[in-house]
Symmetry: C2
DNA sequence: CGTCTCGTTGAGAGTTTTCAATGTAAGTGG
DNA sequence: CCACTTACATTGAAAACTCTCAACGAGACG
């Protein structure tokens, strides 16, 4: 159950056997099925979720009822509303499963305790957050700098797995464009490069 | 010179006198003047910069020569290209001063050493990065969810100091719209609410 | 006083959205 | 397993939004 988890953690920091054992105690496994909510708007995000298997999405819903995809997480990625989790305020996001998923959950108190008892995990999360900042910054730059078509090309280049794995209308939302526009863009690009 | 710095750090973590003294040794003060570069595209970002006084901006320049504002930092904020700083790769950003500024710089090796020798600073930076993630996420959501007008209204509400302090054409770039569009939006909003 | 930068305004062009219709694939219940 | 329903992708046409290009005015600075 912790295979993906420790392989991810060990990518960033060194963990002794004892530390691994201790870290495990803070997490609880959870399975959720496709379409099932992990978090609903208005509730407090009580856990960080690590995806061992499957696919989650986080999104918010605006006044007009339109969903805006914030983040996708599949094997090896984390999912949460960090703001709600850290500030213990009601979330403005929804989190649910796009595919049946197996998760590892850690609560806020356990998270704090783990960071204090296993300082290398403090380090792991600092590194994780650093990387998250960098990737968010890239997405942001693409969002403010590029046209819809350029944004899609950029995403295809930087995150092809996302394009492959995520339903098209959710990709459109993730890019901040309408499904119709994305459909037209793909159509246009396919015409230009039919040999793929 | 460290007044703003320690008041910021102490907002997030507790620091003993001894730790403060030690932390100080890792930083070097630097003054830069309006329009002066702190970092140019193609160079490696060798320092994190803390702004004691003044105002910096980071931005990239696209193929068409258009600048895209990534971040502004005034008193109490950090500035760097995190990707370049952490990966020690050439930066794709420029950083320069919008106002004459006084900075505290820390190099990558000193940064790493400080985090190991003063664990509470590891904690400080994790918290800092957490907050950064949250604010970047908000900006991103606004960027993908809203029209130009909504984005400006949102920014005015969440970060009025930015609107006041940053030249208008840079605010437009920050929002991912043209200066002309921003000018028209402001004009329109002033007509609707002339009594302010 | 002249120059330069920045903000404003106008008009037309280009992009993206909206609304609607159609086709297609997937999921569900009989 | 098939028929039916539902959700999703595609396409078209018009509307809305934003950009581009250009001109003008105001203020900063030497």
């Amino acid at each position: 159950m912790f295979e993906v988890f420790f392989s991810q953690v060990k990518d960033k920091v060194l963990l002794s056997e004892a530390e691994q054992k201790l870290v495990k105690t803070f997490f609880s496994p959870k399975k959720i099925r496709k379409r099932q909510y992990l978090l609903q708007e208005g509730n407090i995000c009580r856990h960080l979720a690590f995806v061992e298997k499957g696919l989650l999405r986080s999104y918010n819903v605006d006044d007009k009822g339109i969903e805006h995809m914030i983040h996708f997480a599949w094997e090896g990625w984390w999912m949460a509303d960090m703001l709600s989790f850290l500030s213990i305020e009601p979330s403005t996001y929804h989190i649910d499963a796009i595919e049946d998923s197996e998760l590892l959950l850690i609560s806020r108190p356990d998270f704090e305790e783990m960071l204090l008892k296993v300082p290398v995990m403090e380090r792991y999360f600092r590194i994780l957050f650093q990387n998250n900042i960098i990737s968010k910054e890239r997405r942001l730059i693409s969002s403010i700098s590029n046209s819809a078509e350029e944004k899609f090309i950029h995403l295809s280049a930087t995150n092809p797995e996302l394009i492959k794995r995520i339903p098209q209308q959710l990709v459109a939302s993730y890019l901040g464009i309408t499904p119709e526009t994305l459909s037209r863009i793909k159509n246009k690009l396919n015409k230009n490069v039919p040999n793929t």
